[in-house]
């Protein structure tokens, strides 16, 4: 392509971005016209991406300005976490749960327990859930006996890399809870000192509470009966 032609295309794209499509459509040469059009689409996409990135960059400040007025305890706790551990929240704030990223979970958990104004001394419930679309999620219900407040923490991980830091040394019941979640969902808890199955035998295959679980054919030579479809 000659430099002259390139110059012409660039000019036409600029015209197109400004809204002047007629001069592009008027081009006689089909090859040139399609080149201009594809260049135009590319330019538009780049502009859009830049706008999204700019919005993302400015959003944390914006959202924090938005959430401050909300008096819901869940939002307040989430805001405290975000303040202490920047870039740890994985989702916008809401009234039901706090969605966080797995990386800093151990530090956040120890802080949640030791910070005097929070003092979540009791891990009430911990469970996994299969979200479908290759995603698993661990959920923690924390409660403070002293202040009588509670939160739900959610951590989503992909199936291919289902690793979450273990909080077994912070709340001791986490030991058995995490082993059960590993047993049923195959989420690995890094740093767990006794990472074994809880309810199923050690040599069982698969993770039963995943939605696509298929039971193994035999276990030590015993044929496992298949579940009948529906109920009689």
């Amino acid at each position: 392509m000659s430099s002259e032609q390139e110059k012409l295309i660039a000019e036409l794209i600029e015209k197109g971005l400004a809204g002047d499509m007629d001069s592009i459509n008027a081009i006689e040469d089909r090859v040139l016209r399609s080149k201009v059009k594809s260049g135009l689409a590319k330019a538009k996409r780049a502009a859009k991406n830049a706008a999204v990135a700019a919005a993302k960059e400015s959003s944390p400040e914006e959202s924090s300005a938005e959430i401050m007025p909300s008096d819901h305890p869940n939002q307040k706790f989430a805001f405290m976490i975000e303040e202490k551990f920047p870039d740890s929240l994985a989702d916008t704030l809401n009234d039901t749960h706090i969605q966080i990223k797995p990386d800093q979970w151990f530090e956040i958990a120890s802080w949640l327990k030791s910070e005097p104004s929070l003092y979540f001394d009791s891990l009430q419930c911990h469970t996994g859930i299969d979200l479908g679309e290759n995603m698993l999620e661990a959920r923690y219900n924390l409660h403070s006996m002293k202040h009588d407040h509670k939160i739900e923490i959610r951590i989503a991980v992909s199936r291919d890399n289902a690793h979450i830091p273990s909080i077994e040394q912070i709340w001791r019941i986490g030991d058995w809870f995490e082993r059960e979640t590993y047993d049923m969902f195959g989420i690995f808890f890094d740093g767990h000192r006794d990472h074994r199955r809880m309810l199923l035998p050690e040599d069982w295959e698969g993770y039963p509470l995943r939605k696509d679980y298929e039971v193994q054919e035999t276990y030590h030579g015993i044929i496992i009966p298949k579940v009948k479809e529906g109920w009689e």
Binding site: D121, S122, T127, D148, W176, L209
Partner: protein, 373 residues
């Protein structure tokens, strides 16, 4: 000359053993008579409760909750229906609430009687066990009178109960309470203040408060360590705020705070409080009202999730339910109080004698059906 080995010995208790209260296996490392490490192995009674729940409608789950804690099935029904009703934001008629509280408290007495009696039996006291089972039988008769079943009731439904109270139930219940209250004194004479029993339980297996909370121990086991925490008071549900009763805590009456004797005695005190609640509830209950009035035609909770807790005889029973708006739950997690109570055993039993393990395990009052689900 042979060599005397001073090494550790691994001893296996269970899975078939009368004092493990079901099919529980304990791997015990002993140094002579002293326990150095104890590892519970569970799962022998795993029946895939949670997986089954994902293939059934919400009301079909209720009979399964019976079979989890088969010694306090009413309380498990109660915990589950409260969770589903909370998710649906369903209000149930006042009469239903009264019936549920009456059933839950009768169940608490029945469950505690078995726990106390079997605890005596574990330690070698046979007679109190027979006395307590005799009185528990009268409560089971009342359940049979109400819904036809003696152990697994399927009595509480989402939005109501399966049957109204039968004619003459209130009178029978009052008669039972009048008969039962003096019996508590007899149990105390027979077992509670028995010298041998105190020797076997006081100062044994002391559970400090912070350890108990960290391990998620709840219910009578937690209260025996001196924590005044009862969901009926602290996170009240149903109509418990209407009744006047005390939250009983351990006080180290025969030894140290949080020992086996305290865990036993808190249950005995709680039986008295349940009698108190029952007397109030039976007297205040509205005479008429339809118990099926609020039953939903189709149980279809809105999209969302809930974690709801109730106080069963064994402690905080939690249900985590995730709904996608369909008639079948996406996920039902049962957080069982016996599961958390058993997890503390390793911490609790280390350093004690072999015979104390039975004392400590019995005092936790576990039900394996609920642990393995």
């Amino acid at each position: 000359m042979g060599v005397v080995h001073g090494e550790e010995m691994v001893l296996n208790i269970g899975p078939q053993h009368p004092s493990t209260h079901g099919v529980l296996r304990l791997k015990v490392k002993t140094d002579g008579e002293i326990i150095s490490e104890i590892t519970p192995v569970i799962g022998y009674l795993h029946r895939c409760f949670e997986k089954h729940c994902e293939n059934m409608t919400y009301d079909q789950v209720i009979p399964f909750t019976d079979r989890c804690d088969y010694l306090a099935a009413m309380a498990n029904n109660f915990g589950y229906v409260v969770a589903v009703e909370e998710l649906m934001e369903l209000k149930v008629p006042e009469k239903v609430e009264y019936i549920r509280v009456i059933m839950a408290e009768l169940q608490r007495i029945a469950s505690h009687l078995l726990a106390l009696g079997v605890y005596g039996l574990d330690i070698g006291a046979f007679t109190p066990f027979l006395f307590m089972l005799r009185d528990r039988e009268r409560i089971l008769d009342m359940f049979e009178m109400t819904c036809g079943a003696r152990l697994l009731y399927n009595y509480m439904w989402v939005g109501g109960v399966s049957h109204d109270l039968p004619k003459g139930f209130v009178e029978t219940a009052f008669q039972f309470l009048d008969y039962f209250e003096p019996q508590i004194e007899e149990y105390n004479k027979l077992l509670t203040y028995n010298k041998i029993f105190i020797e076997r339980t006081a100062d044994i297996g002391v559970l400090p408060q912070d350890v108990a909370i960290s391990y998620g121990v709840s219910g009578p086991n937690l209260r025996a360590s001196g924590v005044k925490w009862d969901l009926r008071r602290n996170d009240t549900y149903s109509i418990y705020e209407k009744f006047d009763f005390d939250v009983c805590i351990g006080d180290g009456g025969q030894g140290t705070l949080g020992d086996c004797w305290d865990r036993y005695y808190v249950r005995m005190l709680e039986v008295k409080e349940s009698v108190k609640i029952l007397r109030q509830a039976l007297a205040q209950m509205p005479k008429d009202g339809d118990v099926h009035q609020a039953l939903p035609k189709k149980i279809r909770p809105p999209k969302g999730s809930i974690y709801s807790r109730t106080e069963t005889p064994r402690g905080d029973l939690g249900f985590y339910i995730e709904s996608d708006g369909s008639p079948i739950p996406t996920r039902v997690k049962m957080r069982s109080p016996a599961f958390t109570a058993l997890s503390v055993l390793g911490e609790l039993a280390g350093g004690w004698m072999m015979s104390d393990v039975i004392s400590i395990l019995g005092s936790l009052d576990i039900v394996l059906g609920e642990i393995d689900r």
